[in-house]
Structures are given as C-alpha cells and as structure tokens.
C-alpha cells in the first residue's frame, strides 16, 4: 500500500520535473552550452591565430598548447562548415 503511494508520488514528481525541464531548463542548458562553445572557439582562435596568418605576439611562447588544441580545431572547422582543415592551420584531417 505505502509502496504504491510512494511510486505514484515519484511519478508525479517526475512529470513536474519534465515539464519544468522542457519549459525552462532545456533552453537554458542549450544557451549555456552555446555560450561555452563560443567562448572556447574564441580562445582557440586567440591561441592558433598565428597558424592561420593572424599575427600573435605570444605564439612562440604558447607552442606547448598545440597538442591540447588540435582536436578542438578539427571539431571547430567541421562545425564551421569546412569539410577539410583550412589552409595554414593544423592538417588534422
């Protein structure tokens, strides 16, 4: 008896959460992800700009970052609609 009531309560709570999730949380999460991605792209451009032909005074002092950025660079150019890596940058594919 009490178990049935407990499960009904849980079901009701899940429904409320789903509605809340769909109305408010999902868009918020999407927005947050987009902002994170944009900022990460901006950082990527700042650190590999030299390889793309945009002068960067600290490029020589940040070469160690390349291993950490190369996969993200690949993901970025695919997302930006370039099937192959742009000329000058990493030849990641």
């Amino acid at each position: 008896m009490s178990e049935t009531r407990g499960s009904a309560w849980r079901q009701w709570w899940r429904a409320v959460r789903d509605v809340y999730e769909g109305l408010y949380f999902a868009p918020y999460r999407r927005e947050l992800y987009r902002e994170f991605r944009d900022e990460r792209d901006a950082f990527l451009m700042l650190t590999v700009s030299d390889a793309l032909g945009v002068p960067n005074p600290v490029a020589f002092h940040t070469l160690e970052l390349y291993p950490h950025l190369i996969e993200q660079f690949h993901e970025w150019h695919l997302r930006a609609g370039m099937e192959r890596a742009p000329e000058g940058g990493f030849r990641c594919c």
Partner: protein, 311 residues
C-alpha cells in the same frame, strides 16, 4: 666613489652604439665582480661576439667558467631558436595522441621559421637567466646587442605578460562556463575537474614574464649602463636610449663617456651627454693607451670605472 656605488647592482645591462667599447667595459666589470667574491655571469647577446677576444677565451652558448667565479656565455639567436623548438617538442611528446603527433611536430617546426622566432627565443632565455640571479649567480651582466634591438627586448616583458594575463582571463571564463554546463547537465558534479593543462602553461609564462618585468624595473637590483663616446652618432643614439629606457621604466645605473681624449672638438658632445645624464651618475673614462685584453688589464680598467670621476 660614485662610480662604484652606481654599478653595485645584481643585474647590469651594458649598452650603446656599436664600437663605443661596451663589450670591454662589461667584461671589465664582470672580472672585477668575480674578483670581489660574487658568482658572476657575463652574457653576450651581441651577434658580433667579441667577449671571447677580450677575455682571451673560447666561448659557447652555455656558461663557461673562465676564471674563478666568472662564467661567460655568448648567445646565438639562431641556436637559441633551434634549442627552444627542440625543447618544446620534447615537452609535448606523450601529451598528444600518436596519430596527431606528426602534425603537432610539424606545426611547432613551422614556428621556428616565422619572423621574430629568434628574438622570442632570446627573450625566453633572458627570462631564465634573470630567474637564476640570486640562485646560481649573485650578479649577471649583459653585453647587449645594438641598442634598438635591446630596447625592444626590454619592452617585451610588459607586452607578453599583459597578453598572457588576457589569455588566462579568457581561459578561466571558458572553464567556468564548462563547469556550469556540467552542473546543469547533471554529470558527475561532485567529481573535481582535473587541472587544466592549458591554464598551467599560461600561468607559468605569465609568472616568469611578470617576474622579469619586476626585476627589470627594480632600481635597487637592476641598472642599464649606457656607454657613449664623445662623437655625434654615439651621443645622438644615447639621447634616444635614455628616452626609451625612461618610457619602459628601466633604471639607468650610469652614463659612461668612454675614450675621452680631451680635445676641443669633444667639448660640445661631452656637454650634451652631461645634459642628457641630468642627475644620474656619470663617469668619464680617458682613452686607454693600449688595447685592453685579458684579466689583468680588465681589472685595471674596472678600477678606473669604479673611481670614475663625475666630471
């Protein structure tokens, strides 16, 4: 002894127009420093190395002990850039997936041939040398490259540190957003995110460049010794140098007028140097009768520098 007090600093840069005698004066002061008990490093960043000739020693890019407590090295920009690139490649090995290793190496190698690579490598080496002052060495003297190049080098710490600070700020923002996203997405929020290797690299650079800048501006430890001869071009260049050093807040230890012969034609230039010096220590040295080479003659020259008359 005004000369001695002015030059009693941990980090000294000897600079001036080519041919005014800065290499000999830097070597003289280095020999005297070592003689007085200080572990001394003399660094030549002038591509036309002549420190070895003055000290009658064969030198290389690594510090070499030429007399008791005196180490000397001649920095070669091309060699520095090669070494730097090799070190970076060694450091990143193993942090990159094997299939991408070749591409990362290629990209790093490209940096070797970009304009400014050699200057950046020399700058990087200088930051490490400055970090060794007070540790491995008590005093470091730089026999600098032609002034324009050196003054640019002195402007780099500020530019680089500022740029690094900007990158750190942006990276922290990215990481903060990543954390928020992870929380909202409900993925292992209790598990602490691993240290960001990118942030670690940026912070090390920022710290080293900031330390370099702090040391360069510390008049208690650092000083630029401007050397000139009483001639038109040397004086004009010195005047410009004083202006630039002031702009970058690099303290000037002394202004040395070298090779004074006492002729009437020199008077106007000596006056101009006096005006340029203002209230900073000024030393005049008479022209040496014989070319100064070897430890003994260098010590004698250094004694003149120490007792130098603020004429």
């Amino acid at each position: 002894m005004p000369g001695l007090a002015a030059l009693d600093r941990d980090i000294l840069f000897f600079g001036g127009k080519g041919g005014v005698g800065k290499t000999t004066l830097a070597a003289a002061w280095a020999v005297r420093s070592a003689e007085s008990g200080l572990r001394t490093l003399l660094v030549s960043t002038d591509p036309a190395h002549s420190t070895g000739d003055v000290l009658e020693a064969t030198l290389g890019s690594e510090p070499q002990e030429v007399t008791d407590r005196l180490w000397v090295q001649e920095i070669d920009p091309a060699e520095e850039a090669d070494t730097y690139i090799r070190d970076v490649r060694d450091r990143v090995r193993g942090t990159v997936p094997p299939r991408l290793q070749a591409e990362v190496d290629r990209q790093i190698d490209i940096a070797r041939v970009t304009p400014g690579a050699e200057e950046a490598a020399v700058f990087d080496r200088v930051t490490w040398i400055l970090a060794s002052v007070g540790e491995r060495y008590d005093r470091v003297l730089f026999d600098t490259a032609p002034l324009g190049y050196t003054l640019r080098l002195l402007s780099l710490p500020e530019t680089m540190a500022t740029w690094m600070a900007g990158l750190i700020g942006r990276r922290r923002h990215v990481n903060a957003l990543a954390r928020m996203w992870r929380t909202v997405a409900g993925s292992e929020t209790d598990e602490r995110a691993p240290d960001d290797p990118i942030l670690t690299v940026l912070r090390e650079r920022h710290q080293r460049f900031t330390d370099t800048r702090t040391k360069l501006m510390d008049a208690g430890r650092t000083g630029f010794v401007l050397v000139a001869t009483p001639e038109h071009l040397a004086v004009a260049e010195t005047e410009r140098a004083v202006e630039t050093l002031r702009r970058y807040a690099v303290p000037i230890a002394a202004l040395v007028t070298n090779r004074v012969r006492g002729g009437g034609g020199e008077a106007a230039y000596r006056d101009r140097l006096r005006v340029t010096a203002g209230d900073m220590p000024r030393i005049e040295l008479e022209e040496q009768r014989v070319e100064v080479r070897g430890v003994g003659p260098l010590l004698q020259l250094a004694a003149q520098l120490a007792d130098g008359t603020p004429a």
